[in-house]
Amino acid sequence: MTEYELIKGCLKKDVKCQRVLFEKHAGKMMSICLRYSKDSMEAEDMLQEAFTKVFHYLHQYKFEGSFEGWVRKIVVNTSLRNIKKNKINFSELNDYSENSPQLEPYAYSNLGEEDILKLIHELPEGYKLIFNLSVIEGFTHEEIAVMLKIQASTSRSQLVKARKMLQNQILEMQKIAV
């Protein structure tokens, strides 16, 4: 079945179509939820809430643009809403990493997805959120500022700090590996 037919079936509340559509996109969306959540339990709750909304508001999808992109938006917004329930800490750590050297591509090109996810997961809350929204989701700092009700400058500095911290952690990993 094409995605169009699947969506049409879901609109008619066909459970089989809903299951197929869910299984097609659940994996990627779970990955998104894991990046935003503290643990897997929270990620599962986010995913459940997000897909409930997907099926509930499916009639609003006008077949313009990618369906995956539409679902992704819902998942990200749901994740953000969950995170914002607890106050987000955007304090900056004194990690003295401003003077650390730039990481060359060869240093991290062998990193696997799970390693990267683990590194991101270990970032402080604010760093992780801004890094996810800016680098992976592609939001501008101005958009992030509006979404999280912070200053754009805060978003920029958090991203710089997050990047530096990740790079340092990659360096540390390599040192350990050696």
Binding site: K13, V15, Q18, R19, F22, E23, A26, G27, K28, M30, S31, L34, R35, A43, E44, L47, Q48, F51, T52, F55, H56, Q102, L103, E104, P105, Y108, S109, L111, G112, E113, I116, L117, I120, V135, I136, G138, R163, L166, Q167
Partner: protein, 467 residues
């Protein structure tokens, strides 16, 4: 740059990354959504069930209420079966409906020739097309299935296939009757089917042409009431008398300036056909003018004497006396608001076109003045303000005659009965408004913008507008 490469690397790695999902996640999602879906299913099924129940009940009620087809057939068609037809008086053939059989494909009947006593089987096969004369009004056409035999008797009918048309032999005529009675008989068997179209589909014998007639041929008989008001621009036109000093007119013009004008009224409209309207009513117009006149009211002359003493030397005193005159002139400014009022009866012919939401019309007609009255002041030839009003009646007429009216309306429908309209118009008065005693001829021509509401008084009937 390095940071950008790093970001791109992370993004590419994680964009398509999939994580394992618990096996029961979908069931959890469905359970969360289920109460809403149950409600939705319940309500849509209930709605469908109620709808079906109402539809079936209506169907049964309609069928039960309808007079039986059998009665109609026998009551209306007393010449069909066993008697001589009206058109054919020479011989009579008889057809026994008792032996009539019919199916979708053929109609078989038994015909007895009265003279010979022999029996003949007649068969018609194929799909017959019954076309109805256009002279029959649409409302009758919708019931053609039931009245087919009546029409057959009264109108020429064409039936293709094995049944000949317009054949005046009794045998053919009776075959036609047999044919029709066959499907009317079928109709009796299928009386649980309400609509004629259902029957036709079942029988597959007769196809009727599309019989929907739009009621455009019915004359439009609508009455409307219009209420309107208009801000106006009035242009005064004066024809001077050459025997009078022209300075007087210049001076007079300098004292007068136009202020606002307005019109308000009510009209009744009657449609003459789909496009033409006749409108009449009553309207009140008022033109305002400012008369400003300055007169010297007071002149005050003051003599000022100044005495100065100059001591040129001891004992030498000179006293100087200055006398000067100071003149003060006081003016009195008089402002009067002149009003020119009239009550007119408009008689307007309007041509309207457009769609259901937006319409336009051109309106032309006359304004018959019922009464005019004026009050105010103006300058006379001695440059003194004089009053004019209805009691003096010497300057202006009490009836200013006929004016020509031309307007263009844009009408917007609000609902089935109410419209709003905007109508710029001009009014040209043919006659002047001054009496013969006046030293000049004056009239006003007006341009205005009617803003109004139109309300349909007659019952709503849908009209189809030519586009």
């Amino acid at each position: 740059m390095t940071d950008k490469i790093f970001d791109e690397f992370i993004k590419d790695k994680l964009k398509e990354h999939s994580a394992p999902v618990p096996a029961d996640m979908f069931d959890r999602i469905i359970k969360t959504d289920e109460p809403k879906r149950r409600v939705a299913l319940f309500s849509s099924k209930t709605i469908i069930s109620i709808f079906l129940l109402v539809a079936v009940s209506s169907l049964i009620g309609y069928i039960m209420w309808q007079p039986s087809n059998t009665n109609y057939v026998t009551g209306q068609n007393d010449t069909s079966i066993n008697t001589t037809s009206n058109a054919h008086k020479q011989t009579g053939g008889s057809v026994s409906t008792n032996t009539t059989t019919g199916n979708n494909d053929q109609v078989t009947g038994e015909e007895t020739d009265k003279e010979t006593g022999g029996k003949k089987n007649t068969t018609s096969t194929g799909t017959a097309t019954l076309s109805i004369s256009n002279a029959v009004p649409s409302i009758v056409k919708e019931q053609t299935l039931l009245r087919a035999d009546l029409i057959l008797q009264n109108q020429p009918t064409t039936i293709s296939g094995n049944i000949e048309t317009n054949d005046h032999t009794i045998a053919d005529y009776n075959r036609k009757q047999l044919f029709l009675h066959s499907f009317i008989a079928k109709e009796e068997r299928n009386t649980n089917l309400a609509s004629s179209e259902q029957l036709l589909k079942q029988l597959k014998l007769v196809k009727l042409a599309a019989i929907v007639d739009c009621p455009t041929k019915l004359p439009r008989r609508d009455w409307y009431i219009e209420v309107f008001a208009s801000p106006d621009f009035a242009k005064k036109s004066i024809i001077r008398n050459n025997n009078i000093n022209q300075n007087y007119y210049n001076r007079k013009d300098s004292t007068e300036s136009m202020e606002g004008a307005f019109t308000a009224g009510i009209r009744i409209s009657k449609t003459l056909n789909d496009h033409f309207f006749l409108k009449s009513g009553i309207q009140y117009s008022q033109i305002n003018e400012q008369f400003k006149y300055r007169t010297e009211n007071e002149r005050r002359l003051t003599t000022v004497v100044t005495i100065r003493t100059i001591i040129r030397a001891p004992g030498d005193t000179v006293r100087i006396r200055d006398t000067s005159m100071l003149e003060q002139i006081g003016y009195r400014q008089q402002v009067t608001h002149n009003k020119y009022r009239s009550i007119d009866v408009p008689v307007i012919l309007s041509y309207e076109w457009g769609g259901e939401k937006w319409k336009k019309s051109i309106n032309a007609g006359v304004l018959l003045n019922l009464r005019s009255w004026q009050e105010g002041e103006m300058l006379d030839t001695s440059y003194v303000p004089v009053a004019f009003n209805k009691s003096t009646g010497q300057t202006f007429k009490t009836n200013i005659g006929v004016g020509v009216y031309l307007g263009y309306s844009v009408i917007k429908s609000i609902d089935a009965k109410m419209d709003v309209f905007v109508e710029p118009y001009i009014r040209y008065n043919i006659s002047n408004m001054t009496t013969d005693k006046t030293l000049f001829t004056q009239k006003f021509n007006v341009a205005g913008l009617n803003l109004g509401i139109r309300y349909k008084l007659s019952t709503t009937r849908q009209h189809y507008y030519g586009r």
